[in-house]
Amino acid sequence: MQAAKNIQHYRQRMAKLQPLIALFILCVILSFLSDKFLTVTNVWNVMRQISVNIIISTGMTLVVLTAGIDLSVGSVLALCGAITAGLLKNGIELPSSNLYIGFTIFGACIAGLAAGAVLGLFNGWAITKFKVPPFVATLAMLTVARGLTMLWTKGFPITGLDSKFAHLGTGWFLGVPLPVWVSLIIVLAAVVITNKTVLGKYIYAIGGNERAASLSGININKIKIAVYSIAGALAAAGGLIVTSRLDAAQPNAGTGYELDSIAAVVIGGTSLSGGRGTILGTVLGAVIIGVLNNGLVLLNVSPFWQQVVKGLVILAAVIIDKANTKSE
């Protein structure tokens, strides 16, 4: 019994630990190849760069745990970033009833986040109410949100934002970049949610066996809608950071982010069929990808070779995991 318990704990630790081994090996190799890699500034640099993916992937993890998927994160990020930027710069004008509403930075950010949550809510609504497969529902949202972004920005970046807003993406606090703080807080919140709250337990149950979960009296739809809304809001949060770092909202921002974040989730050991996985695993997945991108540039690998190397390393990273967890 005791032995068994230990094995259990050991396994669980493993499950989280595995990507760590791959990451460790990667870092060792890189720090051998480039003396610039393990410098303080570069570490913060990498952290800042991956913070956005971490934020998005946290939401994605919740979605994937329910055996769902969210392809719309990239466009939602773009749209919400653009909304915030637009409101900051131009506010809302209704020439008809000659009305003008200006927005404080805070107000604009809240608006952006709210927009993200609403878009996510739509996803969840289509998925639960009409039983549309998550892949299709969020694919539709991917196109729609991108189109709306183009319409809202007319295809041009919204630039020249309030300099204080740039602080969110570029500022530091206690020697740590603000985006890193944000991602840190979000990750902590998500860890608590998944491990300690009813919502978290239900998410795992739904992903594990939806039928059994609903027969246990869980309101599947409510949970799913909540999860997709959270994912949307987090994508929006990513959008705010990207916008403020660039001091511009790009109409084509976030293109292809869905793959990056799903990759982080899966490399982190979460199963796309739902029910098993951890937030921390996802974080490690995101870090691996980020470190890789950074390393390839530091080593000035030719753009031609980069993709080849990147693909192989990711494959290797996952194989290392599996090799070490095969035992079960």
Partner: protein, 501 residues
């Protein structure tokens, strides 16, 4: 002749088998007996090539064999009916029966005609009335189990292992199966038969082998042992079976069903349940008997709000009408359902024992909005002890529990909610005789409180043992309402047989 020689098998945290030896002769039915988690299925999985890493030897017709995989075992003439259904839901009956050994036309394409006609033969032999082209998922558990049996018969193998083949089928089907087993005996096949229904063993088996906690206890001829001796051997000490409580004082009415009707789907008018009405009182154990396909599961599911939209009629709890449109609503209203198919409907296999037991009561385990791990553990601990669930720890994945212990987990998670109305659909399916008596005790304890209990079972003795009153269903109608005092097996049966007109 097939011999298992000093076979041991370890799983992380458990020794499932510990130097077990047994000898199987042709033309004989060997009964493999043991409590839940004794190691029966594991041993059979080794003999049929599912588990390939074990210590000890398998000796097949005098020479040592080591199966590389199930196909290898099949080739050596060993077929197994697994305890857990292993069918592909999306495929048809024919496709499932022939999976892995399809017959091909000269062109190398599937010879569907051929396979279909063979299937029809097998279904005929099993007297199973389903279309060979029906998708397996559209069949009831019982029908699916018959398909499993057909699949095993297809190979006309030399060794046929049956791991609780009758756990989900009614007496009619059991008789058919026994007939077939007799034939196989005459043909000199080796047959291993695992079941927790002892009386079955006495009718069909020639020799017995008892396992306890993964160890070989003893073997012998069925005719030399008595029912109680056998139980004593498998449990290790005396236990008393039989009826627990006698009279029931009917305090007030708890649940009342009025004119409940269920349509097959919202287009057609075909009815699965026809205008069902009955009452359940506080402290009453109401048994529901019927043959397979009578509509009992549908009845429970409908009360539980699973078929809202397809159903009409009133449900009153404590005399108050409540509209139950979803399981969530049912649970709020104080109804619990222990479903028929534990793997599909009862458990989240990827989660562990603790998480499965606590899933229904999480809201009562909160401290400061957070789920309190210790509360959850003590809850799980309580039921692991009460129901004697055999698990290596609270953190063992339920996927890896023995069949019977999985069933106990489902019971536990619903008892934890202590509802007004507890509905049990085949509650002791696949549960060993000892645990059964435990569960009977529990049921009567629960009933002695405020709770009312609905029990669906295909085992008459079970109902006669625990119920205060028995409803009999036959294709969607209630055909009899018999109080326990004047309930007899043939009364129940006559009421259960559908009137053919």
């Amino acid at each position: 002749m097939l011999v298992a020689d000093n076979i041991s098998k370890k799983f992380p945290g458990v020794t499932a088998l510990d130097c077990v030896s047994l000898e199987l002769q042709g033309g004989k039915v060997t009964a493999l007996i043991g409590e839940n988690g004794a190691g029966k299925s594991t041993l059979m999985k080794i003999l049929s090539g599912v588990y390939t890493d074990y210590e000890g030897n398998i000796i097949h017709n005098g020479n040592i064999v080591r199966f590389k995989n199930t196909r290898d075992a099949q080739a050596k003439g060993i077929a197994i009916i697994h305890q857990e259904l292993n069918l592909v839901p999306g495929l048809t009956v024919t496709e499932n029966i022939f999976l892995g050994c399809e017959t091909l036309s000269p062109l190398g394409l599937l010879d569907k005609k051929q396979m279909r006609s063979r299937t029809l033969q097998l279904l005929g032999r099993l007297k199973l009335d389903v279309s060979p082209d029906a998708q397996v998922e559209s069949l009831k558990v019982g029908q699916q189990q018959m398909v499993e049996i057909a699949k095993a018969l297809l190979h006309n193998a030399e060794v046929i292992i049956m791991d609780e083949p009758t756990s989900a089928i009614g007496d009619k089907e059991v008789k058919v199966l026994f007939g077939i087993i007799e034939d196989l005996k005459k043909e000199g096949r080796i047959i291993v038969y695992i079941s927790h229904k002892l009386d079955e063993l006495f009718t069909i088996a020639d020799t017995y082998v008892v396992l306890r906690d993964g160890r070989f206890i003893e073997s012998g001829n069925m005719k030399d042992v008595s029912h109680d001796v056998l139980i004593q051997k498998m449990v290790g000490r005396e236990i008393t079976t039989g009826r627990q409580k006698t009279n029931v004082e009917k305090s007030g009415e708890l649940l009342s069903i009025e004119g409940l009707t269920l349509f097959k789907n919202n287009r057609q008018t075909a009815k699965l349940l026809k205008n069902i009405s009955f009452k359940l009182h506080k402290g009453e154990v109401l048994g529901i008997f019927g043959l397979m396909g009578a509509g009992r599961t549908e009845l429970l599911e409908t009360i539980f709000g699973l078929h809202a939209g397809r159903a009409t009629g009133k449900i009153l709890i404590n005399k108050k009408e409540c509209s139950i449109t979803s399981p969530a609503a049912a649970v709020k209203a104080g109804i619990a359902l222990v479903p028929e198919d534990r793997k599909k409907d009862g458990l989240v296999l990827s989660l562990d024992v603790k998480e499965n037991i606590s899933i229904t009561t999480l809201h009562q385990l909160l401290t400061a909005g957070m789920v309190n791990g210790n509360k959850a553990s003590s809850l799980a601990e309580e039921y692991i002890n009460n129901l004697r669930i055999k698990t290596s720890s609270q953190k063992q994945q339920v996927k890896t529990l023995s069949g019977g212990n999985q069933q106990k987990i489902v019971l536990a998670k619903w008892m934890a909610t202590n509802p007004y109305v507890l509905m049990l659909d085949e509650p002791t399916r696949g549960i060993d005789i000892h645990a059964k008596t435990e569960i009977y005790k529990l049921i009567s304890q629960l009933a002695s409180g405020q709770m009312g209990i609905l029990v669906v079972s295909s085992e008459m003795p079970e109902l006669l043992a625990i119920a205060d009153r028995i409803l009999v269903m036959s294709d969607g109608c209630i055909t009899a309402d018999i109080s326990i005092q004047n309930a007899t097996e043939d009364k129940l049966l006559t009421a259960a047989i559908p009137k053919t007109n």
